[in-house]
Subunit: 336 residues, 2 copies
């Protein structure tokens, strides 16, 4: 077994309290005489002492661990977010427990209960549950809690401004002369997807519309069932997330004069595709940093109310899109 305070106390002819004060009690360590302190440290070193964090946390009621529950860790968007949050938390002395709810409400609830029972200090969630109440059912009332990406009434949150995202994307499409679109939406019970759809529908004429889980398969399905017939009547296909877009892009690559694809978040390697693509990209590092500052505020209990953080996105286009834009600008200036 790994040595404990008792072993070191015996070894150094001191008491457990003294050893504890030397090895962990930051300020308390000063109240111990220099010699004793050194004897204890030397013994700890020699025996290879490692504090048992379970015992410590049980006593102190702090684990210095924050849990992050994401809806899909295989999505690069969340993977990146997770990796950045981890890095940032580490700098502040916290470690991260990363959990995957896999878009399953049951699993989310299980994880909420589990991490609470494990005594984690704080919680960052990309929520599937839709109300404050549903979440607080599984987690103690006063648990420091931040929701990420999908704001919920009454809980401190960090997210991109969905309206801004949608409008800058629409603006870019406008510039490319888009009037009519096909709209591919993720599940409407997820706030981000719903809001994106609403704005897009308000700014363009929607000739075809399909809805389904935010996966590649849904994209293919949409194309086959609804988009193919109107594909030469629309100037753009807009998708409310990257996975959906990948599905349609797959099937559109053979079309001669393909419409623009508008999408939220990044499509990997999109710059190499011949289809014109415009992305409304969230600021992932800012989201990560935002979460961490929020949760730290709650953890330090400075009790001033924590304001929701809303971040702006920016538009990124691929080369094919830029060529298209140049062409239509030329046409316009020639017409003049």
């Amino acid at each position: 077994m790994s040595p404990t305070l008792v072993d070191i106390a015996r070894e150094t002819h001191t008491s457990v309290s003294t050893v504890s004060r030397v090895l962990s009690g930051g300020a308390m360590a000063n109240r111990i005489s220099k010699e004793t302190r050194q004897r204890v440290q030397e013994a700890a070193q020699r025996l290879g002492y490692r504090p048992n964090l379970l015992a410590r946390s049980l006593r102190t009621r702090r684990t210095y661990t924050v849990a992050l529950i994401v809806s899909d860790i295989a999505n690069p968007f969340f993977a990146q977010l997770g990796s950045l949050i981890e890095r940032s938390l580490a700098r502040h002395g916290y470690s991260l427990m990363l959990c995957n709810s896999a878009e399953d409400v049951e699993k989310e609830a299980d994880y909420l209960r589990l991490v609470a029972a494990k005594g984690i200090d704080g919680l960052i969630v990309v929520p599937l549950a839709r109300t404050r109440k549903q979440i607080l059912q599984a987690v103690p009332e006063k648990m420091p809690l931040v929701v990420l990406d999908r704001p919920i009434e009454g809980i401190p949150s960090v997210a991109s401004d969905q309206d801004q995202m949608s409008h800058i994307l629409s603006d870019a499409l406008d510039q490319a002369g888009v009037k009519k679109i096909a709209l591919l939406c993720g599940p409407q019970h997820i706030i981000t997807h719903r809001r994106r759809c609403e704005v897009l529908a308000s700014r363009f004429e929607v000739l075809a519309r399909h809805e389904g889980p935010a996966q590649k398969a849904t994209g293919r399905e949409a194309f086959d069932q609804k988009f193919a017939p109107v594909i030469d009547k629309v100037q753009a296909v807009v998708c409310t997330n990257n996975f959906l877009a990948q599905g349609v892009v797959d099937l559109m690559s053979d079309i001669d004069n393909p419409p623009v694809v508008g999408v939220f978040d990044e499509i990997t390697m999109f710059d190499l595709l011949r289809i014109p693509i415009v992305c409304s990209m969230q600021d992932i590092p800012a989201l990560a940093e935002g979460c961490v500052t929020q949760i730290l505020k709650l953890l330090e209990r400075t009790s001033e109310p924590v304001q929701p953080i809303l971040l702006d996105a920016r538009v990124v286009t691929n080369r094919a899109f830029q060529r298209l834009l140049a062409k239509s600008n030329n046409a316009a200036s020639v017409a003049k």
Copy 2:
């Protein structure tokens, strides 16, 4: 505060032991009379009792948690692996703590110590450290431990057979008539990268070679500095991982008659690119399942020695590559 056994005992006029036996002691629960049991359960329900897992684990020395330390969670390969391992472990009653060493040996060591101190039951690592000794320095001798993706002498492991991967990739390139290649290698101290390079070098004539961290930037760098001059003399560029390949592919998309790209692991959306690509793809679900069976064997302590698991990969090609192959086959049959 959340209620404890004491609260329930007081409430039901029983003792802590009784309550404990009812609420957790699986087999022990039978030795409690039916009425008492129901009274206790009802009270636990009513008070919203949740066991304190810190306390429980301290006593029982089990956390039913396995840690997975990956070298880069932002890499889709590891993200997928993580997500599958989590799912599989959950089915066996274990939960996963997912950690990111970010290719930083210091951080890996920190995490090894941390998870050991937190009392996790078992550990799956994609190791940066290169020897058994280095790892056992941070982790107790008898900690159940499995290394993933990068085998280490003397530790139970799960990995793809690097030689097989390299050879089937080479075979596919052979078929496409490749003789001379440019070789882009990840860090040679990582066993997988080194072995892949060795095999490739033994099977083809290497006209240019570049080495660097397994990131997109290294790919660009390689192209600019070493590959561009010989790009029309080689029939293939081979990269030892997907990130590297993305970098070169980025820059090669403008070339008129691009060489084939050979790569280990998948390139996202590769089917849409006009560059012929052939991937040697690892069986990710099998890797995940392998890890879990290994670690479970160790956790159940059935003490029979655990044999390393070596998995086969398979070759996947994109449309551009298939067209190329068809063309060269035609040429061959015409020649006949």
